[in-house]
């Protein structure tokens, strides 16, 4: 006989505990593969070693670079306040990342076959919360140490304070994002928690740039803020963790599975070393949030004119691209103050990033043979039309940042600006990666040749431009 209908009174009776279901699932899965604990620990060891080794190398190299004569001398106050702005912006973006992921999530399979059952949700999610909290605390403690070391701190006690500050605020952010996940839809504080640090970062950066260019610059505080950050962050972390545990039963299916799609896309993008997979999902989510737009007829004219209007319209409907384009102007002015010797190279890199934000149309038609067939005309002509908007954007961005750079022959600026457009073009017209072709053995394992070839299309040209700027600037 099939399972009997349930009644409201007896619904939860006889339901196994989360631990029992987890054990049942683990046993069933273990029958089909022999992934032992030592394998897991071995993988974890490699990751920790990799992060520790390369992380410390990155911090040391960055510190040496900041102190080198190539970078040039900058006011310590400017660098200190810009580091604060960078941390604020990083915190805001990290919060958005946490919210996009969940941060608690279950795989679609787990949702379909396990968490759709009346198992106690708090008990099912609690181990995941513990793992995430541990990872966030450890990760942000490392960030704290890295930032302090980058600032020239070598004293063990001071590094410990920095680690504690990072851990406290990292745990606070993670636990708060779980509280947000369990809150009702439409609450504004989770959105504000992501926006406020980014706006604060923009304000601090603007202040540093204005005061730095017009006056003597902002002074660096006499004392380290680490102790104050610990004093506020650690109690907040404890309180937020308590609230997060209380919120676990309210974390619903909608938020648990949404993050899983992002996690899957991120994992696939990481494994295949192709960020476009994650970018595609982010883009589709963005357009879905917009939902409906006001459709209008194109102004009469030839086909290329309509496509150009469509590209401009696409940009107007995607204001965050313009926002990033504008923010990068501010970033370039800040970089010129903090790293005066590298201002020219920074202009090339940030100019490329700003232009790349405007290549949505170019990427769409380059990735879709069907779209190109439907639009008609040659591929070259279609791509040529869709590079007009990025080229104008690049030119304008370059002109607005000219005051941040001096030195070098007069022809260098226009040539580099054209090079930036060419790099954005190469990146935007990148065809899908062929993973089935030849592979090459690297220190990171076997990598398809096409991945290196396609992945380096835009960035390779960008690297050449940076070198040209460094040698001739």
């Amino acid at each position: 006989m099939t399972a009997p209908p349930a009644t409201l009174a007896d619904a939860p009776a006889g339901v196994p505990t989360a631990r029992q279901v987890r054990t049942h699932l683990r046993r069933a899965r273990r029958r089909h593969h022999d992934h032992s604990l030592s394998d897991v620990l071995g993988d974890a060891y490699v990751v920790v070693l990799f992060v520790g080794m390369y992380g410390w190398f990155a911090v040391s190299a960055s510190r040496d670079m900041l102190e080198s004569p190539t970078v040039g001398r900058a006011d310590p106050g400017v660098r200190w306040w810009l580091a604060v702005a960078a941390l604020l912006a990083g915190a805001g973006l990290a919060w958005r990342g946490l919210r996009a992921l969940g941060p608690l999530l279950v795989t679609p399979a787990t949702q379909s076959w396990v968490t759709s059952a009346p198992i106690d949700r708090r008990a099912w999610l609690a181990p995941r919360l513990a793992v995430l909290l541990t990872a966030a605390t450890a990760g942000t403690a490392l960030v704290g140490v890295g930032v302090a070391a980058l600032g020239g701190v070598t004293d063990l006690a001071a590094l410990s304070w920095a680690a504690a500050a990072g851990a406290g605020w990292g745990a606070t952010a993670l636990a708060s994002s779980v509280v947000a996940q369990g809150s009702r839809a439409g609450r504004r504080w989770p959105t504000l928690a992501g926006v406020v640090p980014v706006v604060a970062a923009a304000v601090v950066t603007a202040l540093v740039v204005v005061v730095g260019r017009l006056g003597d610059g902002l002074p660096r505080p006499a004392a380290s803020p680490a102790a104050a950050l610990v004093a506020v962050g650690v109690p907040l972390a404890v309180a937020a963790t308590v609230l997060a545990v209380r919120a676990l039963p309210r974390v619903d299916r909608a938020t648990l599975t949404t993050g899983a799609q992002f996690a899957n896309a991120a994992a696939t993008a990481t494994i295949l070393l192709d960020p476009s997979m994650l970018a595609g999902l982010v883009e589709s989510r963005r357009w879905r949030q917009i939902g409906r737009v006001r459709s209008r007829r194109f102004l009469p004219g030839p086909g290329w004119w309509a496509m150009l209007q469509a590209d401009v319209r696409r940009l107007r409907r995607h204001p965050s691209a313009l926002l990033i384009w504008t923010a990068l102007i501010l970033v370039q002015y800040a970089a010129a103050l903090a790293l005066p010797g590298l201002a020219g190279a920074a202009q090339v890199v940030f100019g490329y990033l700003a232009t790349d934000r405007l290549t949505g149309g170019l990427r769409s038609i380059s990735r879709s043979p069907g779209l190109r067939r439907a639009l008609g005309g040659s591929d070259a002509a279609l791509r040529g039309i869709h590079v007009v908007v990025p080229a104008i954007g690049a030119g304008l961005w370059w002109l607005l940042t000219v005051p941040t750079v001096d030195g070098g022959p007069s022809w260098l600026g226009p040539v580099l600006a054209l090079g930036v457009v060419a790099a954005a073009w190469r990146s935007g017209t990148r065809p899908p990666i062929n993973y089935g072709g030849a592979t090459v053995n690297t220190p990171f394992g076997m990598i398809p040749v096409d991945l290196l070839r396609q992945g380096g299309r835009g960035p390779a040209l960008l690297a050449v431009l940076v070198l040209v700027r460094l040698f001739l600037g």
């Binding site: 339901v15 059952a117 909608a254 949030q289």
Partner: protein, 207 residues
């Protein structure tokens, strides 16, 4: 007083400024089968996702046996069985292990699993891993997940999809038996034969 098995009141869902569901209301009593009808893009799947709790509505509420259908409530999850298009599988569990897992997680045992496997013609595939199943077999496995566990409300999104002729006949028969057992069934379907054969009520949206 007779309590409705499923009650939807003023349900609304928007994507940005696109209104997908606007003030949708209906009730469904135990032992009745209702179909959601509407053209492509009218919000049928979104409605079912909101009823199940896979999506958060912007307005309105869903009641199951008179209580607010909060997906985080274990009692609601015990009452509502659903097969939507977002189902996924553990790559390393066989067909029968998937069904036993669902039965176990709902506090039952493996007793109904063999019968459901036989009924759905999945016996030959019982030990196969999901990646080796055809799309029709996957669909049958998704439907089977609803029948190895207790339920008072059954939500199905185009259950006839990818089923062959025999499978569709089985589906109609199965839905009739669900009705006879007192289960309230809400489905979205584009199959006029299935609708004419089993449906008691029609809910039209997006017109």
């Amino acid at each position: 007083m007779l309590v409705d098995a499923l009650s939807v009141r003023g349900l609304g869902r928007n994507f940005g400024n696109l209104v997908v569901l606007d003030d949708v209301s209906f009730t469904l009593q135990a032992g009745r089968i209702a179909v959601v009808l509407g053209p492509n893009g009218s919000g049928k799947t979104t409605l079912l996702r909101c009823v199940v709790g896979a999506d958060r509505p912007d307005a309105g509420e869903v009641l199951v046996q008179g209580r607010r259908a909060d997906e985080t409530d274990p009692q609601v999850r015990a009452l509502v069985a659903a097969a939507l298009d977002d189902i996924d599988f553990f790559p390393d569990l066989s067909v029968v292990e998937h069904l036993e897992l669902v039965a176990y997680a709902h506090g039952g045992n493996a007793e109904p699993v063999e019968e459901v496997l036989a009924e759905l013609g999945l016996e030959p595939a019982r030990d196969q891993l999901p990646v080796t199943l055809s799309s029709g077999q996957r669909r049958r496995l998704a439907l089977a997940s609803c029948f190895v566990r207790p339920r008072r409300v059954l939500i199905l999104d185009e259950p006839e999809q990818r089923l062959d002729v025999r499978g569709r006949q089985w589906l109609a028969d199965r839905l009739r038996r669900e009705r006879d057992a007192g289960t309230a069934v809400l489905l979205a379907s584009h199959d006029p034969e299935l609708i004419d054969a089993v449906v008691d009520e029609r809910i039209e949206i997006g017109r």
